[in-house]
Symmetry: C2
Subunit: 189 residues, 2 copies
Amino acid sequence: MSANDLRVVKTKQALHNALLTLLSEKPLENITIAEICRVAKVNRGTFYLHYEQKEGLFEEYFQEIMEDLHNSYEEPYRAVTTLDKNQIDPKTIRIFHHIERFKIFYRIVFSKNVPLTYYYMLFDGIFSLLKRDITIHHKIHDEISIEYYSAYQANAIIGLIIQWYRQDFEDSVSTLNKQLAAILRIGEK
Amino acid sequence: MSANDLRVVKTKQALHNALLTLLSEKPLENITIAEICRVAKVNRGTFYLHYEQKEGLFEEYFQEIMEDLHNSYEEPYRAVTTLDKNQIDPKTIRIFHHIERFKIFYRIVFSKNVPLTYYYMLFDGIFSLLKRDITIHHKIHDEISIEYYSAYQANAIIGLIIQWYRQDFEDSVSTLNKQLAAILRIGEK
DNA sequence: TATTTTTATGAACATATGTTCAATATCTAA
DNA sequence: TTAGATATTGAACATATGTTCATAAAAATA
């Protein structure tokens, strides 16, 4: 199962396209493996050569989206000397931008019948970004575990995103930004 | 499908017991509906009369656990006059106690192949508890949406629980308590 | 280009899913 | 206690899942 083998590339591409086509018609939960294979014109046995479940196929997409999250966050850091009290760390707002950019996918990621896998992929993504920043910039009291602290902060942000998702991402990125800034200000006074 | 009908009660009980038996042998994902029905000696068609997926059966259990969460939190509030700086709101620590008490179930709730439904049930549970407390006790700046703020706080706590789960709940409730207290203290200075 | 290695295919099989229906068993309410 | 209401059953059916295997097709490499 060499990832470079042209046959493998072709097969996976066909399956990816088929999934995308079907996703525009109905939710992931109503799509069957047999269906994907029929549309992709790929033998069903071949599917099982590469994946275990249809969810694995979507996971491959989501992997790429996680790379975008990483890249967005890593963009050349434009140091802001005096932060507007109403704005938060410019690196964090990029997370919200990223979610909005891929909201079509995040509607699937946050839908209730989908496995937790994708949630954890997002969690791990934000977790590792925050953890690195927390380790570098903040000096944290000894008694705090960086792991717990990062998990706390990462999931708190996802909490905002869940709330956002539940209104179908109607609020603007800037609203999310302001809400987070205001919440963070509460502790400071 | 009257919930009081003895036949319904009996059928559901048999399915519940069968699921519990099977869960002690293997993970939820490897259990089939047909298997549950065989063990429960219930016709497979009867299963579909009450549930759509095996996950719905587990959801019924989890519903009861969510009631325990609610009750734990609602326990007569023993007002603590001087809060130990290292301890957090005594109501919140009860959440950690609750998780530990039902950790057998939470290992399922947080496992990656399970649907997000249970996560949302927990989220909604903690969300509504916090929201009520936030609305009553804290006076929040106008610009903050109580919804976003509650979602932030609720999911932050679940973030700690995820981190806790990933070490198979090895840390003590008291450790979690201290970590949260320390994290909350960061913003205060 | 020819040979070797690897992947994809089609067919078949046992089992699971999801649904329907008439027949039967069991409960509720009078 | 009985009559009527409703839940359960068993059987059947079409389709999906997950696996195996020999064969064919296509790629890598020498």
